[in-house]
């Protein structure tokens, strides 16, 4: 159910469904792959595109990351098709990228989700003081090649 699209309404008011992991994902040690209720997303807003961080090792400079630009439909596809991974996989096992985009999404319950997608397909969903979800997008959109699932050798 996680990351699965539900049938769209005629008004397309409900555009996408995905899950938010309980806050216990922040507990020490490896977190289990989350299983939780789905939340509908109504609107997706891009706050930053082509952003760069020096928290990750790599060869990309800020000028290189400027080319990493996502559109709202692309973000929607990434969020809905991404798969949950453990916090440990996100933080330690998966390759990361200095290049990323951030934004928000409105849920059908009136809440706001903050998202962050990096060029390696890592997806982070957070809410203010609430649940966190660690995910991986395996599709071809970001790098032009399909990625290796988190459970495979890194």
């Amino acid at each position: 159910m996680i990351g699965t699209l539900r049938p769209r309404t005629a008004s397309a008011a409900v555009l996408a469904w995905l899950s938010i992991t309980p806050a216990l994902a922040l507990a020490n040690g490896p977190a289990p792959v989350p299983q939780s209720a789905s939340v509908a997303l109504r609107q997706i807003h891009i706050v930053s595109n082509g952003a760069w961080t020096d928290r990750i090792s790599g060869d990309e400079g800020p000028e290189h990351c400027r080319a990493f630009r996502l559109t709202e439909p692309r973000v929607r596809r990434i969020l809905t098709q991404s798969q949950p991974v453990t916090e440990r996989a996100y933080a330690h096992d998966l390759d990361a990228s200095r290049c990323h985009a951030t934004g928000t999404a409105r849920t059908s319950r009136g809440g706001r989700v903050h998202w962050r997608v990096d060029a390696e397909g890592r997806v982070l969903l957070t809410t203010s003081g609430g649940p966190v979800s660690y995910r991986q997008y395996l599709g071809p959109d970001l790098t032009g090649t399909r990625k290796t699932p988190a459970t495979a050798p890194r």
């Binding site: 922040l26 990750i56 990309e60 330690h92 390759d95 982070l124 790098t143 890194r154």
Partner: protein, 167 residues
């Protein structure tokens, strides 16, 4: 290749290793400096990830290769590097040994792991790391210049193993 586990204890790391498809390394250094061998040095383990371009980091790529590498996706760059031999590329899963050091990145309440900083490698851990690296270097003929922190070789949280010392 020197790593930190992002786990609080050796036991938590062992627990992570039992999951199907789990990654792992050859050695694990606990907080008190105890060295556990977790795989035979004759076996391949999965601890590296996609390779960064060594010639870029060491400023010895030809201009055309520099240009091409900076345009490549990480998977294409990994394939490009894998076609080379050490020391023209960084060691990969097929020809490296992994040493994990128990240590977490903090603060744990920070939801974005990229914003966390790995705890310092303590004195007992660094003493054991020095002993182990030198023993492996002597026994297996590995040059000390071919020992790397994980973020040097792959795209990772750059604070991982930043305080590990083995010279």
């Amino acid at each position: 290749m020197v790593h930190q586990t992002d786990c609080p204890s050796a036991r938590a790391t062992f627990n992570a290793y039992v999951h199907p498809g789990a990654n792992g390394a050859h050695f694990l250094i606990d907080r008190d400096g105890t060295i556990h061998q977790t795989a035979s040095v004759l076996k391949q383990t999965w601890h590296v990830g996609r390779l960064r371009a060594r010639c870029l980091a060491e400023h010895r790529c030809a201009p055309a290769e520099t240009k091409a590498l900076l345009r490549m996706t990480s998977s294409a760059r990994n394939r490009h590097e894998a076609a080379k031999s050490v020391p023209d590329r960084y060691p990969s899963n097929i020809d490296s040994l992994g040493i994990e050091i128990v240590g977490e990145a903090h603060p744990r309440k920070e939801p974005d792991p990229d914003q966390r900083t790995f705890e310092p490698v303590n004195a007992a851990q660094n003493a054991s790391l020095r002993w182990l690296v030198h023993a492996l270097s002597q026994q297996l003929g590995i040059p000390m210049s071919e020992v790397f922190r994980h973020p040097v070789v792959s795209q990772k949280n750059r604070t991982e193993a930043a305080t590990a010392t083995w010279q």
